[in-house]
């Protein structure tokens, strides 16, 4: 340990420049939109922009909350994203356990089919999907949107959980069986609790997916009062084209929830993605 710390050489100038570059690339745009949201109507359209608001004001956010349906869109987004998250967790957890742990006959082929659905472009399915949702009475409903989102997140998440399942020794299953636990109890009480990091990864992926999703939400939800945030934000922009302050505030309030979520469980996600994707 001591040797290692002493060996830690000084960072080269090139490395520092590269690090600053990456930092600015990632944070620059986020910083800029946040600062803009706190600027007054005169300052925000100044020809020479100010890098920090001279008279920080919350009026943009105030107008957003009072004059627009932001809170409705927010609640809709939370419903759809949570629904997608829980749905994806349940479905992909079961599927990966069946495919990769119980190794059902023909499981390899099924896993292949599930992976193949990666290749099928969601965009190309909008037209027929609309018809399908219409037939089963789920058009213009949160449930329909959740169903479609889960269909597109579950394949990737099922595969992602494979890496986590493999890291749990199968001797544990045998030991549980000797202790008299049936297959269902083994799954629920022995293996699933150990999959917590994998579940966190799946949770973040599916929540963020649904939070960002635009195309399906714009086509399958017709009523304004059911719209999710990205659709609502698009409407707000259309309605308040020249009110840059309001648009900036709306943008900040759209990205903030997913950023906050990520601050809390982002490191599990990054670790999970590394493990899952490289196995």
């Amino acid at each position: 340990m001591n040797v290692k710390t002493r060996r830690k050489q000084k960072k080269s100038l090139r490395q520092i420049i590269a690090m600053s570059f990456v930092t600015i690339v990632v944070f620059g745009p986020i910083y800029w939109v946040t600062m803009s949201a706190f600027k007054g109507p005169q300052e925000i359209i100044r020809r020479v922009p100010s890098f920090f608001p001279e008279n920080p004001t919350g009026s943009n956010f105030e107008r957003l909350l009072l004059a627009t349906d932001y809170s409705t869109f927010l609640i809709n987004s939370i419903i759809v994203s949570s629904g997608t998250m829980f749905g994806t967790i349940a479905v992909s957890l079961c599927a990966s356990y069946g495919l990769y742990r119980l190794k059902i006959p023909g499981g390899g082929k099924l896993a292949g089919i599930i992976l193949l659905s990666y290749m099928i472009p969601g965009t190309l399915l909008i037209v027929p999907l609309y018809g399908t949702l219409n037939d089963i009475g789920l058009i213009n409903s949160h449930a329909g949107l959740v169903l479609v989102n889960v269909a597109f997140t579950a394949p990737f998440c099922t595969w992602l959980l494979r890496g986590f399942l493999q890291s749990i020794p199968s001797e544990m299953d045998d030991a549980a069986a000797i202790d008299g636990a049936g297959p269902v109890r083994t799954m629920l009480q022995v293996v699933f609790p150990l999959l917590a990091p994998g579940v966190a990864t799946v949770a973040v992926f599916s929540f963020v997916y649904a939070w960002k999703e635009f195309v399906f939400a714009s086509q399958f939800i017709v009523s304004d009062h059911l719209s999710t945030l990205p659709i609502g934000l698009k409407g707000i922009i259309g309605q308040y084209t020249v009110d840059w302050g309001l648009v900036m505030a709306a943008t900040v309030f759209t990205l903030l929830p997913s950023v906050i979520l990520f601050m809390f469980i982002g490191r599990f996600f990054v670790r999970g993605l590394m493990n899952g994707a490289t196995k």
Binding site: K8, A18, M19, V22, T23, V25, P29, W32, V33, S36, I44, R47, V48, P49, V91, C94, A95, G98, L102, I104, L110, Y118, M119, I120, P121, G122, T123, L124, L125, I126, V127, P128, Y130, G131, T132, N134, L147, V148, V150, A151, A154, P155, V208, K212, F214, V215, P230, L233, K234, T254, L255, S258, V259, F262, G266, R267, F269, M274, A277, T278
Partner: protein, 287 residues
């Protein structure tokens, strides 16, 4: 036997959901493509391959396919360069790399609609900060999203900012799988950093890079929102890739059958290209 019963019932939900939301629509898509349906669900009759012929003779479809090719390749290059540099930096020691391993994901976490607004704001030709900064050093940026010559590349940059974090984390994970001893051995044999990277690291992580490139290309081919939210495919079709073409055909021109036929053709192209890549470009996995 009981075990298999449990296994099958566990796999059933994902199968049902995928059947309803992907399988049936896909079959439906093929069905609609042989009809002459206009509005979704409207009246229609069987016309055979007529619609396909019309799509294949439509020069807009071919230009869209070409643009999609450019879109995929340039996105791949830009994102790989960005992601690789970032991933190598994440490997270094110290607080920067440690925190960056999490915050580098932020551009991916932000909803696409927000991403497009942020960049349109920063590049705005009247009030945009980047426009102003470049102007100060004598570069006139013009309007990057409404100039047909550069619009596609401008959106590629925005899209790359949005998606490079995912590739960064996967590449960083791949780099972490290379055993320290192997690198140490190469160094003892007198290889410098660059030689070690190209002779040891790169061959070892090649299979992961290939998988990432393949899946990433398919995902990026399918991107619709980044493009649609900024230009809707304009100016004068300059940013109309295949997904935008299909979207506009279905919901702008209300020609469901043509959109479906174009979708089917596109899936065929994607599957063929993917299979060719797996067949001929996949790195050998023996070590």
């Amino acid at each position: 036997m009981k075990k298999h019963l449990l296994g099958f019932s566990l796999v059933t939900p994902v199968m049902v959901i995928m059947l309803v939301a992907i399988g049936l629509p896909l079959i439906n898509s093929v069905w609609i493509s042989f009809q002459d349906q206009r509005v979704i669900g409207g009246e229609s009759e069987f016309v055979g391959f007529e619609t396909y012929v019309r799509i294949l003779l439509d020069s807009s479809f071919w230009s869209a396919l070409g643009r999609s090719g450019t879109w995929v390749v340039v996105n791949l290059i830009v994102q790989t360069l960005l992601a690789f540099s970032a991933a190598l930096l994440l490997q270094s020691k110290g607080w920067w790399a440690k925190s960056a391993r999490v915050w580098v994901m932020l551009p991916w976490v932000i909803p696409t609609i927000s991403v497009t607004i942020i960049w349109q704001w920063m590049l705005n030709s009247n009030y945009g900060v980047i426009h102003w900064a470049l102007g100060e050093v004598g570069i006139d940026l013009g309007s990057p999203f409404s100039d047909p010559g550069v619009a596609l590349f401008s959106i590629i940059l925005v899209n790359s900012w949005h998606w490079f974090p995912l590739a960064t984390v996967v590449i960083y994970g791949a780099l972490a799988t290379v055993p320290e001893e192997t690198l140490e051995a190469a160094r003892i044999d007198g290889a410098n950093n660059r030689q070690t990277f190209f002779a040891v690291t790169l061959p070892l992580i090649n299979p992961i890079l290939f998988a990432l490139g393949l899946v990433g290309s398919l995902w990026s081919f399918n991107v619709l929102d980044s493009i649609y939210l900024i230009t809707e495919g304009g100016p004068v079709e300059a940013t109309t890739t295949v997904p935008v073409y299909i979207y506009n055909t279905a919901f702008g021109a209300f020609r469901s059958s043509e959109a479906a036929a174009a979708s089917v053709l596109t899936v065929l192209v994607l599957v063929t290209v993917a299979m060719l890549m797996v067949r001929f470009a996949r790195p050998k996995e023996d070590s």
